[in-house]
Amino acid sequence: MADYKIVFTGPVGAGKTTAIASLSDIPPIGTDEAATDMTRERKPRTTVAMDYGLMKIADHERLHLYGTPGQERFDFMWDILTEGGIGLVLMLDNSRKHPQQDVDFFVTAFRDYIAKTQMVVGVTRMDTHPAPGVSFYHRCLAAHGLNPAVFEVDARRREDVGTLVKALLHSLDPGLRP
């Protein structure tokens, strides 16, 4: 059995669990628990361990979709998660107070992984919060020397999440043919 892995990360509420669920063949095994700290105010339930989804690719091939816990204090898990992964999907919530800090935090936390693989960025909640928008995130990412695909996505729409992952695959290999 050949196993491949894509990691979804981003702040709490950005849509990681939803995005994984929209692609997964199996209901996502979320390990959501009631949060005990400030995150409770933003969202009644928050992922403290990890999200997991699975896409069967062929008889002997599976793509695992992992969501990182949204809270910074669990960052020791991230190395384990990214081991052997083929790329990173960074989900950002356009309604957050300090979007630049979110970019800086996650890009720094996954710096080594991004250098080894590729990333794409999905910005959610642009339906309810149109600003700051895609070009703002391009500027934030450029400060880190990064120029990945940044798409407006609604994590509830499979098409959007699928298009985002497609961009990740093409970024990994522009010679890839459909």
């Binding site: 050949a2 491949y4 692609l23 896409m55 069967k56 690719i57 062929a58 091939e61 793509l63 083929i86 149109p130 895609v134 070009s135 391009h138 120029n147 990945p148 695909a149 940044v150 798409f151 407006e152 996505v153 098409e159 959007d160 699928g162 298009t163 985002l164 992952v165 497609k166 961009a167 695959l169 093409h170 970024s171 990994l172 290999d173 522009p174 010679g175 890839l176 043919r177 459909p178």
Partner: protein
């Protein structure tokens, strides 16, 4: 291929006249409308209160003729291929060709340039109706050009001046600069550009026709709106995706004359393909040109994509300010060939061979994931 005779069944007179005009237009030389006798392919419209009855009548008149069914609802009938309405000319043309061959796989384009990698069979396989429509409207079906042939170059390039794209670009620039809304008057409906979006009731198909004709300045012009504009009557459409779409329609497979065929270009950022029209091969072209500048001709060669896919994408990127020309910059094709001829590899070291095998394996899995995402 020889000429295919086609008869149309169960359409109103007006539609039948439209088919006659379509079959007379350029690119349809191989299809002829037949009003008497037995055609090689029948096209039947099954949208009626009693599709079964229409089918029976059709079969009585044209027994066993391979057929193309046009319908808004799925139709499965013996010896027929169903196209969902609205049907694009490109989809109809390829369906007729497939019916003629007894439903063999989609035909390959007649033109293949010898010096380039072949287009994947999968790329040519039947696309969904929507993809076919996007391809038809944004890319057309022109063959690749020979850059040394002036006629080819003239045919495959276009000038935006005097067309709707130029007016819209100009209008957006003004509105972004001073924040004052402006109406474009003289179009087949209201069209107002606000700082935060476009307000219009003109339907996409109508707007697309507007893109293709030269505008008369005495009829179509900008008017600055004074005072506070009334609340928009329709939801605003963001500027960038509209400008992107207008540029794709205007290009229809061609390259804007503002872009040189032999000067390296770079795409500054990824277009927002979740919200902007994604044309065939758009992601591959973008991934290549965001990473490394190539001349348009080298990019087509490196990726093995037809010019009609590459040119409109570059033209649209130019329209939204995402294209950068880099004269004097080296154009460095950096795609590793997927299949090299066996003889080339004999001198390869073990390490290189291992590396190549690994990259081929990886490409295989990435391609299969892509296939799964596309629902295959």
């Amino acid at each position: 291929m020889p000429v295919t005779t086609v008869s149309i069944f169960n359409v109103p007179e007006r539609t039948s006249a439209q088919f006659a005009i379509l079959f007379e237009s350029p690119g349809w030389e191989k299809v002829r409308l037949l009003t008497m006798g037995k055609p090689q392919v029948g096209v039947v419209d099954l949208d009626s209160s009693d599709p079964d009855r229409v089918w029976k009548e059709y079969r009585k008149r044209y027994p066993e003729v391979p057929s193309v069914i046009l319908s808004t609802r799925p139709q499965e009938r013996e010896g027929a291929l169903w196209l969902t309405k609205p049907v694009s000319p490109a989809a109809l043309k390829s369906a007729i060709a497939r019916a003629r061959k007894g439903f063999a796989p989609a035909p390959q384009p007649a033109h293949t340039v010898v010096s380039r990698p072949r287009e994947d069979v999968a790329t040519r396989a039947a696309t969904t109706a929507l993809d076919a429509e996007i391809e038809d409207r944004c890319c057309g079906d022109a063959p690749d050009i020979d850059p040394r042939n002036a006629d080819d170059v003239a045919r495959a390039t276009y000038c935006i001046q005097g067309h709707f794209q130029a007016l819209l670009s100009h209008c957006c620039a003004l509105v972004i600069r001073d924040g004052k809304s402006r109406a474009i008057e003289g179009l087949p409906g209201p069209f107002v550009v606000h700082r935060n979006g476009i307000e219009t009731t003109i339907r996409p198909n109508v707007l697309r026709s507007v893109c293709l004709i030269a505008l008369r300045e005495d009829i179509v012009h900008l008017r600055e709106l004074v005072g506070t504009a009334p609340a928009p009557a329709t939801p605003l459409q963001p500027l960038a995706p509209v400008l992107w779409q207008v540029a794709l329609w205007s290009a229809r497979g061609r390259l804007s004359r503002d872009i040189a065929l032999d000067v390296p270009v770079r795409i500054r950022h990824w277009p927002v393909f979740t919200r902007w029209t994604e044309t065939p091969n758009a992601m591959r072209i973008t991934a290549l040109l965001v990473g490394a500048p190539h001349t348009p001709l080298d990019a087509a060669l490196a990726l093995g994509v037809p010019h009609r896919h590459l040119f409109p994408l570059l033209s649209a990127a130019q329209a939204v300010g995402l294209l950068e020309s880099l004269p004097g910059h080296a154009s460095t094709p950096r795609i590793r060939e997927e299949r090299r001829s066996g003889g080339d590899r004999r001198g390869e070291t073990g390490a290189r061979e291992g590396e190549r095998r690994e990259s081929t394996d990886r490409r295989g899995i990435l391609r299969r994931i892509l296939g799964r995402l596309a629902g295959r």
